[in-house]
């Protein structure tokens, strides 16, 4: 059953398209040599070009072009060998030139697709309309003075990729999945760090509603939503607002709105009140951007393995289920960690240790995969100890906890604590004898048909051997003794 909102007149379908502004990972700005580092002192990362001084001119950053191409390739999109920069003209205090250099009619990347996965395991293709390069604006601070806004131009001129989706999204959940997937791809490619809190990824959300089978109705654009959760909330409240208008016989106005997460509502953007006429035209300071196919091919060949193919390979190479593979490829660093553990070992066992004990330990210790107290190498060695029967699975958990705490190697811990598995059948036999001696009543019950007690005896024998007995040998020996 697809997602609908029930109105008074029946179910409504929602139609959503996303415009994501992703900050390009680069040392310097799109058209100037000023730094892009986050969090610098106000107005220190500003050149004469960024502050639009008279006579200053833009010169394009090669790496930003490369990053846009890599991203386009990662989205399986058309790379346009011929693209162009246009000026989008409007006045605002965060826009020193009085225009934003963007790509309007001829973007560097054309149509592509993103495959999203939903909670219920279904996948959907969301179309990408285009990706273009453009300049970011500066930042206004409104809370420093009662009558003034303060202007910080550090961000002005930083390269952005605007990634525009088709209006293919039909549920808040799909919007969330789309953004997570996009962010994952950008991070794998190293073209955007995807950090929404620092503003390096922001979404404009276009929302409209309709009755099933209808053509599109008027949409509203909700600007600059800065978390995935807020995007999903904004869609829901905006769709509900629009349905109410339509059902009361009104018309939805095409407009730009802001989402207020505190109040859980969207409202008209005051600063965008007057009708806009951006007067786009080709920037005469810049010539057409002409790319060599050979360079695009080179960038293509150097792309890292992306999440979807990696997931398929993990399933195939390591024999792990689709779901687990998805968890393991969510982040490149986790995938790399897993692959270091799994290579040449039991992939399923490695997957269950990484997603189980390791993730729990990271959570508990407040660390990340990059700062994990247990290296992939050490975890691999521990799995080797299980494989060669030096320790059993239960003891392994104890060893692992010790590794988390002390950082010692699993061998050292096994030696220090004397945890080596008991495989000497003589030792096991005498442990069994001791247990049977202690529990003649239970033995009686078992022999009179209470099979379930077998487990009780196994547990007691393990206890007698301090958990170190090889469980398979214990099973075998017990069976022989009890059924004799």
């Amino acid at each position: 059953m697809s997602y609908v909102i029930e109105g008074q007149t029946g179910p409504w379908e929602i139609v959503v398209g996303l415009e994501v502004h992703a900050q390009v990972v680069s040392q310097s700005k799109l058209f100037s040599g000023a730094s892009t580092t986050f969090g610098a002192d106000p107005n220190t990362q500003v050149s004469l070009v960024d502050a639009a001084f008279p006579g200053m001119l833009p010169v394009i950053n090669h790496e930003c072009v490369a990053q846009a191409i890599r991203t386009g390739l990662g989205l399986k999109a058309q790379i346009n060998l011929h693209s162009r920069f246009d000026r989008k003209n409007y006045f605002y205090a965060d826009l020193p030139q009085g225009y934003q250099i963007s790509q309007f009619t001829h973007p560097i990347v054309g149509t592509g697709t993103i495959t999203i996965e939903l909670q219920n395991g279904d996948t959907r293709e969301i179309g990408i309309t285009r990706l273009h390069l453009e300049q970011d604006a500066g930042k206004l601070l409104h809370d420093q003075d009662p009558t003034k806004s303060f202007v910080d131009l550090n961000r002005a001129g930083v390269a952005l990729m605007e990634i525009v989706s088709e209006p293919d999204i039909r549920a808040p959940e799909e919007a969330g999945a789309y953004l997570r997937k996009l962010r994952q791809i950008l991070r794998y490619l190293g073209t955007c760090d995807g950090n929404m809190e620092e503003g390096s990824m922001r979404a404009d959300v276009n929302v409209s509603v309709r009755k099933t089978g209808e053509p599109f109705r008027t949409r509203c654009e909700i600007k600059n939503v800065n978390s995935i959760r807020f995007v999903m909330q904004a869609i829901e409240v905006e769709a509900t607002r629009q349905i109410e208008i339509w059902e009361n016989g009104g018309e939805v106005d095409q407009e730009t709105r802001l989402f207020d997460p505190g109040r859980g509502e969207t409202r008209t953007m005051r600063s965008k009140e007057d009708a806009h006429d951006y007067r786009y035209f080709p920037d005469p300071d810049l010539l057409p951007l002409v790319l060599e196919q050979a360079w695009v091919d080179e960038l293509h060949a150097a792309l890292p393995e992306l999440p979807d193919p990696k997931r398929a390979r993990f399933q195939h190479d390591y024999g792990i289920p689709f779901y687990d593979a998805g968890v393991l490829v969510a982040e490149q660093a986790v995938a790399d960690y897993y692959e270091n553990v799994a290579k040449g070992r039991d992939g399923r066992l490695a997957a269950s240790w990484v997603t189980g004990e390791l993730f729990a330990a990271l959570n508990r210790t407040g660390t990340t995969i990059e700062t994990s107290p247990v290296s992939a190498d050490a975890l691999g060695k521990m799995l080797d100890l299980i494989a060669d029967k030096t320790i059993n699975g239960k003891i392994a958990k104890e060893v692992f906890e010790d590794m988390v705490e002390t950082g010692d190697s699993p061998d050292a811990i096994v030696e220090r604590k004397g945890l080596r598995q008991v495989t000497d059948t003589g030792v096991i036999d005498s442990a069994i004898a001791a247990v049977l001696e202690k529990h003649p009543d239970k033995l009686e019950e078992y022999r009179s048909g209470k099979d379930k007690l077998f487990g009780f005896f196994v547990g007691q024998v393990m206890k007698e051997t301090k958990g170190k007995a090889n469980p398979a040998l214990v099973n075998e020996a017990l069976k022989t003794r009890l059924d004799a």
């Binding site: 008279p54 006579g55 001119l57 010169v59 003209n89 006045f91 605002y92 020193p96 007067r279 300071d285």
Partner: protein, 495 residues
């Protein structure tokens, strides 16, 4: 007479130690003190001690035997070039107190070659005009006067009118200009000097206050064709800070002057014989044709069929670009601010007060032709016509090496004339605009006087990056014309 020399002569004199750069500079500072109040050729003059210090440094380099191309030569800088620590106004109130913390590439190149800057010359506000009447610092006056009526103040042309007046009157040995639709060539013609608009991309635009980016080009304004070559060599060159700058090598342009022009093919565009072209100008043009024939050129009739649409396209494209280029003058980061309670209020008040009427009108015209619903009919159409005009030139240059035309449809006119009819004013650019649209180099050479005793110029237009052939032909015209007339107001008079 130190203030009447060409750059070439002054350089020779300095090299031979016949006079010092200090003496040369002093003579020019004197002339400025005497004549600038009447001519208003300079908006800002540099402090005398700075000028003399620069001259002394040049003298030291001559003494050491390693002078640069422009060493010790006192020149004026159009006040559209940003000069570090020296007020740069674009002749606008909005930049009346702007002191750039940076030096434009072209002026930095000139300083590197040892040039001595005297000051910042007057112009039409933001280089928008053909008469130097729109300067917020008052008009510059042409040093030439009508023999019949010396009391009528004439325009020096525009927008580089302060530069042309200064060079003609001996307030600088040469000056920089910028040309968007004729702003070097037309004032050069009105003031009886040489002006060269190089190929688009030859000189860096970095640090030059933009009017219309796809057309703006810096160039020299001098007293001889060889000087124009020398000074262009100093100004030009690849600049990685300007994406439209060409990285072709810069030749020793002045060496092209004096080269034989025998066998070169000179095209005469039929469409420039516009109806209403004054007989004197037609006669001067015919004279130029005859001179070049005498010099061994082959003269060929050619057609540039879209010429008549050049001017209208230009008056769409240039305002469109300027409406965007001038958006940065908003009273926030530099320039004049007029306070108001709201941000839009600050914008509207600062820009209304800071820009003069001509600039405001061009911004509004540009805003209009780019706005929704009009873009295709005006801007896009003009860009297509621009393609046709460029093709006209390319086709013509398959057959000929240069084109010869008048520079302007009239000699200098009176201040205040043509002011109420913008279209009439725009027609001054009719012969210069097509070369700007095509991006090809073009030179104006003074060749004679009209009946009123005012100078007239001829224009030589060449192929992209072929300034050398343009200068060769210009040199031949110069030699044949032997133009030695002096304006009524000049530094030699009464000194």
């Amino acid at each position: 007479m130190l203030s009447r020399l060409t750059l070439t002569q002054a350089r020779a004199g300095l090299s031979a130690r016949k006079f010092s750069a200090r003496e040369l500079a002093t003579a020019h500072l004197d002339a400025i003190t005497r004549l600038n109040p009447a001519l208003n050729a300079y908006i800002t003059t540099l402090p005398a001690q700075d000028v003399l210090a620069a001259a002394d440094a040049a003298d030291a380099r001559y003494a050491a035997g390693n002078p640069g191309l422009m060493d010790g030569l006192p020149i004026g800088i159009k006040d559209l070039f940003c000069t570090k620590g020296v007020r740069t106004t674009a002749a606008s109130k909005i930049l009346a107190d702007f002191v750039p913390p940076y030096e434009s590439t072209v002026t930095a190149n000139l300083l590197r070659e040892g040039a001595v800057f005297l000051g910042k010359t007057n112009l039409d506000e933001f280089a928008m005009g053909s008469a130097n009447m729109s300067s917020a610092f008052g008009p510059a006056t042409n040093p030439w006067q009508k023999a019949s009526d010396p009391s009528v103040a004439l325009v020096p042309g525009g927008s580089s009118g302060g530069s042309s007046a200064a060079v003609a009157a001996g307030l600088a040995l040469a000056a920089t200009g910028t040309d968007t639709g004729g702003s070097i060539r037309q004032p050069a013609a009105y003031c009886g000097i040489v002006g060269l608009k190089p190929t688009y991309g030859r000189c860096s635009r970095w640090g030059v206050i933009a009017y219309a980016s796809s057309l703006d080009q810096a160039g020299p304004m001098t007293r001889s064709v060889a000087d124009a070559g020398l000074m262009l060599q100093a100004m030009a060159g690849f600049d990685e800070r300007d994406s439209t700058s060409s990285n072709r090598p810069v030749p020793a342009f002045h060496e092209a002057v004096g080269k034989s022009v025998k066998g070169l093919r000179v095209g005469i565009p039929a469409e420039y014989r516009a109806p209403g072209l004054p007989a004197e100008i037609q006669a001067m043009w015919d004279q130029g044709i005859a001179w070049l024939k005498d010099a061994g050129c082959e003269v060929v009739d050619v057609s540039l069929p879209h010429t008549r649409y050049g001017l209208t396209s230009y008056y769409i494209i240039a305002p469109a670009e300027c409406s965007s280029n001038l958006a940065r003058y908003d009273g926030i980061r530099f320039g004049t601010r007029v306070d108001a309670p709201s941000l839009d209020g600050v914008y509207e008040a600062s820009r209304a007060a800071g820009f003069g009427p001509e600039v405001r009108n061009r911004i509004l015209m540009g805003t209009y032709v780019l706005s929704a619903g009009y873009y295709d009919a005006y801007y896009l159409k003009a860009q297509k016509v621009r393609t046709l005009i460029r093709r006209d030139f390319e086709q013509a240059f398959e057959n000929v090496d240069v084109l010869l035309t008048p520079t302007a449809p009239s000699a200098a006119f009176a201040q205040g004339e043509n002011m109420n009819d913008p279209v009439q004013m725009y027609l001054n650019d009719i012969f210069t605009v097509p070369a700007s649209l095509a991006g090809v180099p073009a030179l104006s050479v003074p060749v004679g006087l009209d009946g009123a005793g005012l100078p007239l110029g001829l224009q030589v237009i060449g192929r992209h990056f072929d300034e050398e052939t343009v200068l060769s032909i210009g040199g031949a015209l110069e030699a044949a014309a032997g133009f030695t007339h002096l304006p009524a107001v000049h530094a030699g008079a009464g000194a």
